[in-house]
Symmetry: C2
Subunit: 202 residues, 2 copies
């Protein structure tokens, strides 16, 4: 069986990443989402190994020192990171693993890992992104403006990604991602083993 691939998935806050990925994994069981590890306390509604892997700071830093984290960062005195082991287990089973990650972490992974497929989600326009952020209602006007400025910074790094999808229509966007994953498997380098097999049995 062919190995699955690691897919780095980024895009600005409010662009709809969670909704896109939810739809994608619901409709395609050869794709799974990477689960982050964190040292922050587990909330009541959260599930170990589903929402996060919850680790003590010692456990987390041990994994870091043993190179068992693909990337990690500290926010608000808690560590967050991407454990390598589950990704390797799934990709060895032929499953594609999507890592939803902000652009800095994403770029670390893209530059350090071989054969990563990277996808950046764009809003159709800033006007749409602003409306989506405002519709959340939970955020003040200042926070919305901050997120829009942050979105500009993030979009300015989109050139580091292999593919750009636009979340205009959610179903089209999911179809685009499926096409990207399908096409990637058909690249010559990923079909070389198949060709060699045919040639060996002439």
């Amino acid at each position: 069986m062919d190995k699955g691939r690691l897919i780095v998935f980024s895009g600005p806050s409010g662009v709809g990443k969670d909704t896109i990925l939810k739809k994608l994994i619901e409709s395609d069981d050869t794709v799974k989402l990477s689960i982050s590890a964190t040292t922050r306390p587990k909330r009541e509604y959260e599930e170990e190994g589903k929402d996060y892997y919850f680790l003590s700071e010692d456990e987390f830093l041990k994994k870091v020192s043993e190179n068992k984290m693909l990337e990690y960062a500290k926010y608000c005195s808690n560590y967050y990171g991407t454990p390598i082991e589950p990704i390797e287990r799934w990709t060895n089973e032929g499953v594609d693993v999507i890592l939803e990650i902000e652009v800095e972490g994403g770029q670390k992974v893209i530059s350090q890992q071989k054969g990563v497929l990277s996808i950046f989600v764009m809003p159709p326009s800033f006007a749409v992104l602003k409306r989506r952020l405002e519709e959340r209602k939970t955020d003040s006007e200042d926070i919305v403006l901050g997120r829009l400025n942050r979105a500009k910074e993030e979009i300015s790094t989109a050139y580091k990604y292999d593919y750009i999808v636009v979340n205009d229509d959610i179903d089209n966007c999911v179809d685009d991602i499926k096409a990207i994953i399908k096409a990637d498997k058909l690249k010559y380098k990923n079909m070389k083993n198949f060709i060699d097999g045919v040639m060996a049995n002439d």
Copy 2:
């Protein structure tokens, strides 16, 4: 509107290229087939500008000298070639143009033209290819063997193509080609204009 792209499409005799392309253009009106020019006499059932552009040898060679042929070759004292003008007209209209071509011509086009997308069709195995060639009945055993040897030569050049599709199931194969064309449009370099447009209207 984004320009269409030129798609070079090759694969061994008997692999089912014509059937695949017929299904593809029937189900997708943003894709057209490139029409070759030839100096061989028009057969009764053939249509000018549909099956071929039928040219005199003088007309053909004039186009060659004026660099109006993407590639050309001579078989059995007749010239065959790919006129550039219709390809440019269609790609300027945003249509993707597929050029079905043997591997030598295909490689010329791939190496000379910028931004060509290239796809090579594989049989699932030599056994299947042999059966398909034998089923034609019109060819003698010698000709079938010759075509199989030629197939090996052609497949040995598949590494020059961007993508490999397998004609195991015709519908899957057409879906694979559609995914490749869709994904290609989502590559960063092809989405750069869109991103620039969003950033310019913040």
